[in-house]
Symmetry: C3
Subunit: 143 residues, 3 copies
């Protein structure tokens, strides 16, 4: 049984949905030692989120940004939490709608995702720096 | 410590929300050997999702389908990703709103769900075949 | 490798979003024995949910309640499942939008959350009693 846990600072990105599978996996050489296990990711913020979605067409990511901006509008007159600007409360709501953690199976040293699945960082603020994630990988080791 | 991982092809179903608890559990005889542990499910697709919800009244599942069709509309003029039809981009958005993985506690060889909780397959496409899930069960074995 | 699983009955709370991090952690003395691991929580209900969000300003929690009441309205004429009142079907939908489980990393005997992250109980019914959660903590023990 192997456990490996690492805090990773992701490259800063602008508001929107971004594919980060390779950036995460490249920092986890221990992944390939696990035969059967899981990888868990937590994003340590309440104004960004992570999800799995389509890893090929960038239009999916821009349509996703458009959808969430329409369903969680800025400047709603009933927002009381808005001290950090128009993108403040919407970012918190999007974070809870999408979620702040992911768990993915590991099989024979690799993430066992569908062909078209990739990990998205969903950045909900206009101006944020690097986002921190905690990655925990655990499982049975290869012999 | 026991690990068991299995890829399961679910029976094909039409668009909508479907209760699949029994179909999943019946294919996991190893479940009953685990005293304390967890079961993780990943659906390997970006146009279907999984969730826990009410396992009794089928109206909950049809109302759920109606809600998600209203909150994520087809044929929005601003969708750019629509090469596979009107249900294409809405399916991706619903997948991220609902989520593509679930983790459930195992206690004394059984899923430890609430009385009214069941596992739903949420099929967001009009015409899709069988959906694949990866199920990972792990925990302390019974003695 | 340590496993600890416990069912906890949360204090009853009114409809809304409530910070429960301390209430949960205070009932888990075993947490501090784990060096590297995870904590999983399942809420055993289909009309309440759990999420991570901002742990400081209570306005975030009241704005969150307002947002979800607007995006999942009561008394929609097309709801067929409404035998328990106007808050019945909306509670089920909110439960699937937000989610019924959470997984959080444990590092050196403590939850490894971001500075501003806390665990929310999201109570979607007007009149419910205590809610039950199953908490599973597991990982490598401290030496």
């Amino acid at each position: 049984m192997k456990w490996h846990q690492k805090e990773i600072s992701l490259e800063p990105r602008g508001r929107g949905f971004h594919l980060i599978t390779d950036e995460v996996v490249n920092q986890l050489p221990d992944l390939k030692e696990i035969k059967t296990g899981l990888m868990h990711i937590l994003i340590k913020h309440t104004s960004a989120s992570i999800t799995l979605n389509e890893n090929y067409d960038p239009d999916v990511r821009s349509d996703m940004e458009k959808y969430f901006n329409r369903t969680v509008k800025e400047n709603e007159p009933w927002y009381e939490h808005n001290s950090e600007g128009a993108d403040d409360m919407p970012a918190h709501i999007k974070s809870t709608l999408i979620g702040s953690s992911l768990t993915i199976p590991i099989t024979n040293g690799k993430l066992n995702l569908g062909t078209w699945q990739g990990i998205y960082l969903c950045e909900h603020r206009n101006h944020s720096g690097s986002r921190k994630i905690v990655v925990t990988i655990f499982g049975e080791e290869k012999v």
